[in-house]
């Protein structure tokens, strides 16, 4: 029966589970914005991050924080390998976008099969148990996983914003995203910036997979589905708009979770592909916020009006 408590619970669960979706979407959107690559190899980075944490915690029996660092290291290491031995080589060969895309797809498949050979297809988690203590707050069940996950996601977004806004390499990344050739003329080392962009994406994927792997079971092919969710969010959020992708990921997570009220749970997986397909067909340029565009226009137009008035 649908009542305020059920709706509140679904909203809260959706918000909590969207934490890792947001991270995957932001990582995908960042590489697309800066490196101009539809990086389907992100699934490989995610798989590598998860199994690094799994080996650290479950096989080597280190503590959770070590697993967290291992996930970040795994994601970043795979990002480094992909950029250094894949994208960089293809860029210098002036490979066509189709070739680069096929590379990302095949690299992702290769990593998935390699992980399947090593770890098998049996789903697993980072910790032995994925059940977290639950507290009831205002009639809503809040698990011990929810708040740290949301906190970590918000922290990552704030750090990423500050990195892009205030640090030298963050500004270089924006410059390369806007016009890579012009950025190079100004002395920015494009290859290094593209590597930093991939490493940042790898780190974000690592954090996202650690969160996901502590809540859900993972098998080597699982990351592909998670990445397709990120692709749909990136398109809906508007290509080149990191924060739009993050917001779209929250909305998609909410729609997918609340769909249980209207359709059988078995069909929830199908919704993802429906999102992906209809995002492209109906919203190929994503959603736009008209008020922000108007405000931007005013700030650009205003000085011109003033100078005209002075001349008059």
């Amino acid at each position: 029966m649908l009542n305020a408590t059920v709706i509140s619970q679904i909203l809260w669960t959706s918000l909590a589970t969207s934490s890792y979706f947001v991270l995957f979407a932001v990582a995908f959107a960042l590489v697309l914005k800066v490196n101009k690559v539809f990086n389907f190899a992100q699934a490989g980075m995610m798989t590598c991050a998860f199994y690094s944490a799994y080996v650290a915690v479950r096989v080597l029996e280190f503590s959770g924080p070590v697993g967290f660092v291992a996930a970040i290291a795994g994601g970043a290491a795979m990002a480094f390998i992909l950029e250094r031995f894949g994208f960089s080589v293809l860029r210098h060969r002036r490979a066509s976008p189709m070739f680069v895309f096929i590379f990302t797809l095949i690299a992702s498949q290769f990593i998935t099969y390699a992980m399947t050979m090593i770890f098998g297809t049996w789903p697993t988690t980072i910790f032995a148990s994925m059940f977290w203590p639950v507290s009831i707050i205002a009639n809503v069940a809040v698990s011990a996983w929810d708040l740290p996950a949301l906190g970590a996601t918000i922290l990552v977004l704030v750090v990423l914003w500050a990195f892009l806004r205030f640090t030298r390499y963050g500004q270089f990344m924006i410059a390369v995203a806007d016009n890579a050739d012009l950025a190079e003329l100004y002395g920015i080392r494009k290859d290094r910036v593209l590597m930093v962009s991939m490493l940042v994406a790898g780190i974000i994927c690592g954090i996202g997979m650690f969160l996901y792997g502590t809540r859900a079971q993972v098998q080597p092919a699982a990351a592909t589905e998670l990445m397709l969710f990120a692709v749909a969010a990136t398109i809906l959020g508007g290509i080149g708009n990191l924060w739009g992708a993050a917001l779209a990921a929250v909305v998609l997570g909410l729609v997918q979770n609340s769909s249980i009220l209207f359709i059988p749970s078995a069909w929830q997986g199908f919704l993802l592909y429906a999102f992906l397909f209809f995002a492209i067909v109906l919203f190929p340029s994503g959603f736009h916020l008209p008020e922000r565009s108007k405000r931007l226009k005013r700030t650009v137009v205003a000085p011109v009006v003033v100078s005209d008035a002075k001349e008059g």
């Binding site: 096929i102 590379f103 498949q109 492209i280």
Partner: protein, 296 residues
């Protein structure tokens, strides 16, 4: 002998799939890896028409091809109006979405698969007759693709692929060319699906996923994209090679990933070591022409 006939049938089917996929990705330059879903559509439509509708099997196979043709138009038209890159993502969404959808539809067998599909020719004339049929369709496909790409339509495709802006400035409709080539390639894959369904008599949605996409892409890349015989060589080599692994007696849990690792690993090796494939088409993967690069 039955084993050899089955291998020959698989080789024939993959020659059809690889040649028609090369038409889409190589000759026309459309980025899509969802070819297996049109193969699946042809297979399921043909199987259901023959099994439930009592339609004669050759007609059901052609109907399967027509269904794949129409579905590909529905996928390509909206996505290609935006950008070529979107075709890829829309088609992946369509491929995985349809597989997920098929898993939940019990009337077509669901995730467990569709069984008892009526067989064609084998019971009346023996397996050799089916081998001849599949190989004949494969030869016709290769000749059709060769004819299509070497004539005026092929020149139109090449012009559009090499410089879409100039092509459009000359008053040509690039979207129409792309959609029509995508539909032709997918329609051929649909017919191959019908041929598959009425020989193997069992269809399962997961057969037509990303592993199948990797396999067909591997055949085209390894054989040589945008060549007549490249996809044929790729299909023959990559159908025979996995058979060698099956004789190693490995458990299925290892065999599947090992084949996938081999397919994807081979593509990666070829992409970096010999991007033009076993048979080379000139400057196949370059973003700019050789002359442009020489000019700096």
């Amino acid at each position: 002998m039955d084993y050899i006939y089955t291998i020959l049938i698989l080789i024939g089917l993959f020659v059809i799939l690889a040649s028609s996929f090369d038409l889409v990705i190589g000759h026309c330059g459309l980025i899509s890896i969802a070819h297996p879903i049109f193969y699946a559509l042809g297979a399921y439509v043909s199987a259901m028409l023959a099994k439930e509708g009592g339609v004669p099997i050759p007609l059901a196979m052609l109907a399967g091809g027509a269904a794949a043709f129409l579905a590909s138009v529905l996928v390509a038209l909206p996505s290609l109006r935006v950008s070529g890159d979107y075709l890829l993502i829309a088609s992946i969404g369509f491929q995985l979405g349809l597989i997920e959808f098929a898993k939940h539809i019990h009337s077509i067998g669901g995730a467990g698969g569709l069984t008892n599909i009526p067989s064609f020719l084998v019971n009346s004339y023996g397996r050799l007759s089916y081998v001849i049929l599949v190989l004949a369709v494969a030869v016709l496909t290769v000749l059709f693709v060769r004819w299509l790409t070497s004539g005026p339509y092929g020149r139109m495709m090449a012009a559009m692929r090499d410089d879409e802006l100039a092509f459009s400035m000359l008053g040509r409709n690039a979207i129409w060319v792309k959609v029509s080539v995508f539909a032709i390639g997918s329609g051929i894959a649909g017919v191959a699906g019908g041929l598959y369904a009425h020989y193997f008599r069992f269809l399962e949605p997961d057969q037509f996923g990303l592993l199948q996409s990797s396999a067909i892409l591997t055949m085209v890349v390894v054989g040589g994209m945008r060549t007549t015989w490249g996809p044929v060589i790729g299909a023959v080599v990559l159908q025979i090679l996995p058979q060698a692994i099956t004789f190693l007696g490995l458990p299925p849990s290892i065999l599947g990933p090992l084949q996938g690792l081999m397919f994807s690993g081979l593509v990666l090796v070829f992409m970096f070591a010999r991007p033009q494939g076993l048979l080379a088409a000139p400057d196949i993967w370059a973003g700019r022409s050789t002359r442009e690069r020489a000019d700096g």
